[in-house]
Amino acid sequence: MSANRGSVLVLGAASDIGRAIAHAYAKAGRPVILAARNATRLDPDLKDFAVRYGVAARTVEFDVLDIAGHGAFLEKLGELPGTVVCVVGFMGEQARSEQDPAAAELVIRSNYVGPAAIMAEAANRMVARGSGTLIGISSVAGDRGRASNYVYGSAKAGFTAYLSGLRNRLAKTGVAVITVKPGFVATQMTAGMKLPKPLLAQPAEVADAVVAAEAKRRDVIYVRPVWRLVMLIIRGLPEAIFKRSKL
């Protein structure tokens, strides 16, 4: 029973996807911990969780870039959560990231260095306990670098590879590692972009897929199955053709 797997820590809970994931777990009866910067802005959500699902919910302050503080952050939670979902991400502006190394570094630290570090801290504690699930929200953008978003994409590629290695390392422990590639999602981050409807998922759809992936002990999921095919094709294109394409 999912209700017996303990609490769920959602890192990046203020984002549309993070909030939806917290809802999906609370609906399944799991206590949720909402972690974000300026976490008190999520206080109205706590009342909502209490009325809607009758589960315990709380907020905690979290900054993925404060890597030195990650260990202390987990200790301060009291009990180690049963599941940790890392939704943290920052797309930045590709054009700016190309010209401004500091901007590029922020994107890379926000999507790779920081998330990898907190996953490592959580993983080591879960291994010591002998159980737990780590879920990383990565991106199809990490499957192949494209001109339109390769700085963000390369960081997500790093995160995807990191999760893959972590899963390999922990395969014989009781700790599961799941990689989630949502594809296009209708969120504040993508508002105003013209995206093809069959490829565009709602945040609640991503959230349901995450909860289902944990229940089914999956390794890597694309939220809409069509993405597996799309990325298979994109990854399969010879570089000589791909480098001239506008994908």
């Binding site: 109205p44 009342k47 909502d48 009325v51």
Partner: protein, 439 residues
């Protein structure tokens, strides 16, 4: 972003603002000279469209408090009725008034002061609101209720968002024992019989009639009347009594494409209506809440069957004394054109409450037509019939009435306008509809 109401007519390019939290809503009010709130966009016409700033309450969808002893729910204005049903039906509570779709927000239900199949007994949604918090044009937030800021409350329910932006709402729900409705179906051969059945059904909580608007002559106004009560626990078959409040898992289908313009015509609709009328068996059955209240919600994007041009829904109400003559005139005119719709609904309403609320004591008729020049001409003719019989049109459905018709048919409009001049002297809150109606 290109936006429209549920009727997909008219469409307008609107700048959309999506505040998250009251502070951001207040910032949207101070930062825009002209704006209108938009819930889930289920009003049919242009009530929730403002090209300069359309303020979506989509993110303001949280529940704030619930008292399981009294069934009083407090929530943000963007809370969806579908979420309320999913959360509270299993706990034995049902919204006191529900429109024909659950894909609406609580803020939208107040703005249109929606009615349901129980208006003759329960009044409109606004009658069950304990209080609401309203953000005004000057950034003030006022709690409004029947006792506190009562004038503003009466103008906000049914006020189509023109008094301000609703932030939070507290309303009472109704206790239920089961998630089923005991539904009785009756057949009426003509208009007089239909109206008789409504009169005989006054004690029923829910009544509604599907009316065949293509029937002419002796069959004019023939209908199927449905009346319903929340089923008591003892009425359920034994095998359902263990989980009487369980909601059925949704089984929805989506209309995959815009239907071609020719697919809905007097013959196809006529055949449908004939079959529907003949196949529906009079008698009593137990049905689930979804089937009774939201049959069309099972077909997602059903508005697409009217094609790319969109649909115009015409919903009017006629005072009781004028209803027989008025309905006869309207139905004859519609049957003569053959421009009928699948969805023609007749209901008996009780008296008006809010300043601009639609209901008045009498019969309301709602029909769908494909949008287009012929329909617009027909509806203008229907307006004249409605006005001549002392009736009016529902603003939540309207996309095309003119300002003169509005002025003629909403007797408390002057009261509304004087209050609005006081709380919003610059007319900040405006929609394409309010501009068209010169409000």
């Amino acid at each position: 972003m290109m936006l429209s109401g549920w009727g997909r007519y008219p469409r307008a390019e609107c700048r959309v603002v999506e505040p998250d939290g009251a502070a951001e809503t207040l910032a949207a009010i101070s930062g825009n000279d002209s704006l209108i709130a938009r819930g889930n966009g289920r009003s049919y016409g242009d009530s929730s469209l403002n090209p300069e700033a359309t303020v979506s309450t989509r993110r303001e969808n949280r529940f704030i408090a619930f008292d399981p002893a009294t069934g009083v729910l407090t929530c943000e204005a963007g809370a969806m009725l579908s979420d309320i049903l999913a959360t509270f039906v299993p706990r034995g509570w049902f919204p006191p008034v529900t429109p024909g779709t659950k894909f609406v927000t609580v803020g939208g239900m107040i703005a249109a002061d929606v009615h349901g199949k129980n208006h003759h007994k329960a009044g409109a949604f606004g009658d069950h609101v304990e209080w609401l918090d309203l953000a005004l044009a000057d950034g003030q937030v006022l709690r409004c209720s029947a006792a506190e800021n009562a004038e503003l409350f009466a103008a906000t329910r049914g006020g189509m968002g023109l008094t301000g932006i609703i932030l939070a709402v507290c309303f009472r729900m109704t206790p239920i024992e089961t998630a089923s409705i005991r539904q009785e179906t009756l057949r009426a051969g003509d208009l007089a019989e239909t109206m008789d059945l409504f009169e005989q059904s006054r004690d029923w909580t829910y009544t509604v009639a599907w009316i065949d608007c293509l029937a002419k002559g002796g069959g004019l106004g023939r209908s199927l009347l449905y009346r319903g009560e929340h089923a008591r626990l003892a009425e359920l078959p034994a095998e359902h009594r263990e989980a009487p409040l369980a909601l059925k898992p949704p089984r929805s289908k989506r209309v995959p494409l815009d239907f071609p313009a020719a697919s809905l015509n007097r013959w196809s609709v006529g055949v449908f209506n004939e079959l529907y009328y003949r196949r529906s068996k009079p008698g009593t059955v137990l049905v689930d809440l979804e089937t009774f209240f939201y049959p069309l919600d099972a077909i997602l994007e059903w508005n697409r069957i009217y094609g790319r041009s969109g649909l115009l829904q015409y919903q009017c109400v006629l005072p009781k004394a004028e209803s027989a003559a008025g309905l006869r005139a309207l139905l004859s005119r519609i049957a003569a054109t053959g421009a009928g719709s699948f969805l023609s609904v007749l209901k008996l309403l009780g008296p008006q409450a809010g300043v601009l609320s639609f209901p008045l004591e009498g019969y309301t008729l709602a029909l769908d037509f494909r949008a287009g020049a012929a329909t617009l001409a027909l509806l203008a003719e229907l307006d004249a019939i409605v006005a001549a019989h002392g009736g009016r049109i529902y603003l939540a459905k309207d996309a095309r009435m003119d300002a003169a018709m509005m002025r003629k048919t909403y007797p408390r409009l002057a009261e509304f306008e004087s209050l609005r001049r006081r709380v919003d002297p610059q007319g900040k809150f405006a929609s394409l509809q309010s501009r068209r109606l010169a409000l």
